[in-house]
Symmetry: C2
Subunit: 517 residues, 2 copies
């Protein structure tokens, strides 16, 4: 685990381009000659006033230009007289920039940077692709297989390191995580950092704590290095310190500050909230305003959504890029996709575990099954894990992956990884949309790529001795029998076209995949 | 397997009371002195005209009287100049009767019978009890655990004998069976008997074939001896001979004939149809008329319902005594009960098996689970089994329990029997309604007897390490851990009241039952 500052030195030359050590006079005429990789971060640092309250008194911006393109980014105050502007260039070539500010010394500063093509492993930010799926900016398909560790960044350094180790070897390429600390069952500790200065057990909303945000940046950077998307939850109701009911101007300033700091990280997604409907003091006008701020302020248009508890959100709203549902009605998902015209992620469909909460004690088999149900509905699942042992329960010291991170104990992650590989493999075949669409009407659960490049049947609790697969005429397929739990793939002899009878293994929860020859 | 005529001799003296061997003159002054057991059959036989078409030309009735009670039953023509009237007395004591007819020799005939109390094992007909449940007329609780052998009475004698043997040792106390022969996948044989005389491959609807109905009576009698309810399906769409689209007057005559013959069997239920909505030529006015005929003609008010395929029936209609649904939305069942104010039986919720039809290849585990889901919803499940082996498939000689009867191969029946015993055991405890009502809202699936005599939790795919059961205050309970698949019951140490934490076994599909101490 590197911290952000180490990464600055080791990673991108651009990040040391700024001139905190130069004189003010030199800074004024500074022209950057930094080189930065496409979709990495260019960071320009300036010194400026530290008197008064720079968080409230100073605004800074920069416009980055290349050819006819202008990209406007907000700067932010990072404490100690340091002002920063971050930029994620998305095209190789020379970009110039010029700053603006209400402070003369931060206004009219100019520079340039050389953006070089992304290196291997850097695929850029994730975007919606083919209406219902996702892909990286460089064209690589991206199939979200997310997990949930709401408060992992608010744990001890050791625990965060452990979480990252498990994420490194795990099957997940997205993580849902809260920016604000969390107070909830199993979560009654005091976090090491707060986003605002605390005075007498209350928040001084006029002063952000830059170290709080720097720390989160370190973790976003760590995730970026693992090619894991950080699905950042901007508000949540599991609160003990007032963050779920801050004044409107504070909420807005918080959102702008977060976006100014984090938006240049290519692996960031914005989740306006977890279980937004549990924050009773926020009106739908509030949520609309947050959505506007995020939409207008993030120059890169990172993925945006909102997650509910009981009251389904209207995901047809234009601001959100995808649906982030809490539901178990997997059979409704194909219709939701059509209704909302967006990808659908079942970010919470209960968790594998053994705790005394209905949403936190699925068997590993059921968690695995739910990912398959999502897959053949043409949507995506979300993982979480809530195992505790009895001793931990008693003294509130339990470490649950779902909130704290730590170690994965369940039996589903391996199987989820197996499914992810299958989807990536299917999606890699040339032609048509990368992802799957549910096929209807069929007797069993099935989905296919629009081009028929691949067709996937999942038999759930059915165990027919054979099935007459209604394959398209005029295309030839090879077939494989997949055991999602044993994680085996066995080729079925023959080449199939049109209605094709195939003997099935006579046990439940099996799948058959056809790939076009 | 006794045939009906053997039973007549062996069983009830009343059944030989009539005077087929006596002269017409003797018959006229006949006064029966037969003795018949309560809820058994008193049968009075007369000889009458055999010329013309007695099925159309002759009507007969009898009124049976005891004290202020009059029970009017229709007689029927049984061929060969024999007319019969059957009566199921429901009260011990002396009943008198007098016949009526449009034929002088069948009019004004009088007699009496002595009804003696039911012997052990004869509980009378099943009625609705406690709004949502069932009980025998003698007060014994009855929990329907039904199976489905649609066409078993239309198979070879050997196969029928085998079916009865399996029923004898099996867990089922109800069977759904069609009166008309069946033509469907795996059912393409010619039945040994037809209900109407066949001429040139068409039906002579003016002539019933008494042997067809006598044969079914034998089977109803066999089921009665096993304490199995015969849920008789009066119409069905799996037809090859025209029985699903007979003229209106034939349908009505058929219904009256069936009721005149079968209603005196205490174990008869009337199911107007299987998958009524697949019989496109019948209108809802037709179904209403059938319902009226059955309701008005059956003097014993046997249980009545109708079963749909896709279009749910409005079971709030007053004629039907219970709902007989084809559905898998077990979670909706508690609300349906309330909406319809009736017991609900999921007579088809798919079958255990391995055939190439979506409804016929549940795993045994899933079939078992569905019975549990019904139970904790306060409703009842229905079993069916559709296993075939490949060789049988090829030559259409397959014997599938669901249609032909034969032998049970699946793993669910034993577990269904285990659940039945549990319910009967719970229901036997004195106090309150016998059956279970779903408890809401709770985290897990649970149901209780209205009196809190017993409370049953089913955890489905959840495996919490413990649960704080919200038991009623002021009552004390013993608890048992039930493994529905292993069929084990283990006492949990202690006596519980109010909120009670109990450690759970950490595997899915487990149950806990509390019984009031």
């Amino acid at each position: 685990m590197m911290n952000r500052r180490e990464m600055l030195k080791a990673g991108s030359a651009a990040l040391v381009g700024a001139a905190t050590a130069t004189t003010e006079a030199e800074e004024r005429k500074f022209v950057s000659s930094s080189t930065v990789e496409q979709w990495d971060i260019f960071e320009q640092t300036f010194t400026g006033p530290r008197e008064g309250n720079p968080f409230l008194d100073v605004w800074t911006q920069a416009v980055f230009r290349k050819g006819y393109r202008d990209v406007r980014v907000d700067g932010f105050y990072d404490g100690n007289g340091i002002y920063k502007m971050r930029f994620m260039p998305d095209e190789p070539g020379t970009w110039t920039f010029e700053t603006d500010s209400n402070i003369p010394e931060l206004k009219g500063r100019k520079g340039s940077l050389q953006c070089v093509p992304a290196k291997s492993g850097n695929h850029g930010p994730v975007r919606v692709r083919d209406s219902y799926h996702f892909g990286y900016a460089d064209g690589t398909p991206y199939f979200p297989f997310g997990t949930t560790c709401y408060a992992w960044v608010h744990q001890t350094e050791d625990l965060q390191r452990q979480t990252l180790e498990f994420l490194r070897s795990g099957p997940f390429n997205k993580i849902r995580m809260c920016l604000f600390p969390k107070w909830y069952q199993y979560n009654h500790g005091v976090p090491p950092r707060f986003p605002f200065q605390r005075r007498d057990d209350s928040n001084d909303y006029t002063h952000f704590v830059p170290e709080f945000f720097q720390h989160i940046e370190d973790r976003i950077q760590d995730l970026r290095a693992l090619n894991i998307e950080a699905d950042l939850i901007l508000f949540h109701p599991y609160d003990h310190w007032g963050f779920q009911e801050m004044p409107a101007d504070v909420n807005d300033r918080y959102l702008r500050y977060v976006i100014a700091r984090f938006a240049a990280y290519r692996n960031v997604w914005w989740s306006l909230a977890n279980e937004f409907d549990l924050m009773r003091k926020k009106s739908s006008a509030d949520w609309d305003r947050y959505a506007s701020i995020v939409t207008e302020t993030d120059p890169y248009a990172h993925l945006r959504s909102i997650h509910y508890s009981r009251a389904p959100y209207d995901y047809s709203r234009t601001w959100c890029t995808h649906a982030s549902v809490q539901d178990y009605a997997f059979d409704k998902a194909p219709q939701w996709r059509v209704d909302w015209r967006k990808p659908v992620i079942f970010d919470e469909c209960m968790y594998e575990g053994n705790i005394n909460s209905r949403w936190g004690n699925l068997s590993g088999e059921e968690m695995t099954r739910r990912f398959w149900l999502c897959t053949v509905a043409g949507v995506y699942g979300g993982h979480g894990e809530t195992y505790v042992d009895e001793n931990e329960i008693e003294n509130d010291k339990a470490i649950l992956w779902w909130s704290h991170g730590g170690t994965l104990k369940g039996s589903s992650p391996k199987r989820i990884g197996f499914l992810r590989k299958l989807l990536e493999d299917i999606g890699a075949q040339e032609g048509g949309h990368i992802g799957l669409e549910a096929i209807e009407p069929v007797y069993y659960l099935a989905a296919k790529r629009s081009s028929n490049q691949a067709i996937l049947w999942y038999f759930d609790f059915h165990e027919p001795s054979y099935y007459d697969f209604p394959l398209p005429e005029g295309a030839r397929f090879k077939a494989e029998w997949i055991d999602p739990w044993q994680m085996t793939v066995k080729a079925i002899e023959g080449v199939f076209t049109g209605k094709s009878r195939i003997k099935l293994p006579g046990k439940p929860y099996q799948a058959i995949v056809f790939r076009k020859v």
